[in-house]
């Protein structure tokens, strides 16, 4: 009898707790989704696919030799979509050149993908002293960047991939030096990494 009496409040209390737990869980999930969608938009659930698609990209360099992004797996990869006709793209490149010199030996690898023709890219790369590979994507590279999350198909568009080939950041518009460093420094410091 005592058991019967004490059972009812216990059950209702448990039920109440289950409800509260559920409500809190829904709240947390909603917040997490909101923050994630708000921050990164497209990356939600697509990281793996995007990264795979990116690493499989094969494009000619300015000399016409085919280069596959896969060859840089194991390095912290900064893939930058740009064009000579894009002034903001050109403005951020001297910073990329500096970072490539300073942090290349630590495993940082920039790769440019130009939405442009080879002759213009070569002339510009020579003038600026670009010290990392620049692949020639032509207009098709814009569609490629769209598949990687560049919904507006605007430039510059930059993707940062960690040593394991995971997309950790995408950026439409200029990637400022402090932001770039805040992202790549921890990635370069990962233990057990080659290079």
């Amino acid at each position: 009898m005592d058991q019967m009496v004490s059972e009812r409040p216990l059950t209702s209390s448990a039920r109440r707790w289950a409800w509260r737990g559920l409500i809190i869980a829904v709240g947390v999930v909603a917040l997490a989704i909101g923050v994630h969608v708000g921050r990164d938009g497209w990356t939600w659930g697509a990281d793996g696919k995007a990264a795979q698609a990116l690493m499989a990209v094969e494009l000619p360099d300015a000399a016409g030799k085919l280069q596959r992004l896969e060859q840089w797996r194991g390095r912290v990869l900064v893939v930058n979509f740009w064009a000579t006709w894009c002034v903001p793209c050109r403005e951020e490149m001297p910073e990329f050149i500096r970072a490539q010199s300073a942090q290349g030996p630590k495993g940082l690898q920039f790769v440019g993908i130009a939405v442009d023709s080879a002759d213009k890219v070569q002339r510009f790369a020579d003038e600026l002293g670009v010290n990392y590979p620049t692949l020639i994507g032509g207009m098709g590279a814009i569609e490629l960047s769209r598949n990687l999350g560049n919904d507006l198909m605007a430039l510059p568009f930059t993707i940062i991939v960690d040593r394991k080939g995971r997309v950790v950041h995408t950026q439409l518009g200029r990637l400022k030096e402090d932001k770039l460093q805040a992202i790549v420094r921890p990635l370069l410091g990962e233990p057990g990494a080659p290079g």
Partner: protein
């Protein structure tokens, strides 16, 4: 009786149903807020940018059987490059001459030399030859521009179909489709 402590938010409203509603509303509000914060381009997010068809709205009309008037309505904070503007008319034998482009604002580009840009409303007259009144012609416009926020769009082609006026009154102003929205 021992009631385990509950969170402050759930305690403020009397009754379980009210508490639940409040919590659900709070979750919904948070979700909505984080999305809105993104759309508004608040700190931490990227600036909200228009698709090029909306940043560089193209429209045109036929003034008479020998003149088309093309317009670019450039949204505030965006600009077009003068030397990237090009027009063509189909059927192709209708273009009488290369349209005269208005002067733009000059700026020096270290790679391309002096370039001219347009902001606001750009109006260009495209001369036609042998267009039959009552016929429909297609005006195609190539353009390329950027946003002050620090991005550039690749060249785009926009087009409108225009009826050639039969009388002296100009034809209707036709807007090019705005295509996809921001989240599409």
């Amino acid at each position: 009786m021992v009631t385990p402590p509950t969170s402050a938010g759930l305690r403020t409203k009397p009754g379980r149903a009210d508490g639940r509603t409040a919590a659900a509303l709070a979750s919904a509000a948070l979700f909505a807020w984080t999305l809105t914060a993104h759309a508004a381009g608040l700190p931490g997010g990227e600036p909200k940018l228009l698709p090029p068809e909306q940043a560089f709205r193209f429209s045109a009309r036929a003034l008479d059987a020998s003149t088309l008037e093309a317009r670019f309505d450039v949204a505030e904070g965006y600009y077009l490059y003068r030397d990237k503007l090009a027009f063509s008319v189909e059927p192709g034998d209708l273009v009488a001459a290369k349209p005269a482009l208005p002067e733009g604002k000059r700026k020096h580009d270290e790679f391309f030399g002096d370039v001219e840009t347009y902001r606001g409303l750009v109006v260009v007259r495209v001369p036609l030859a042998h267009a039959a009144p009552g016929a429909t012609v297609t005006l195609k416009a190539d353009s390329q521009g950027c946003a002050d926020a620090g991005v550039c769009y690749p060249p785009i082609v926009q087009q409108v179909k225009l009826p050639v006026p039969t009388g002296s009154a100009p034809g209707p102003l036709v807007q090019a489709p705005r295509k996809k929205g921001f989240f599409e």
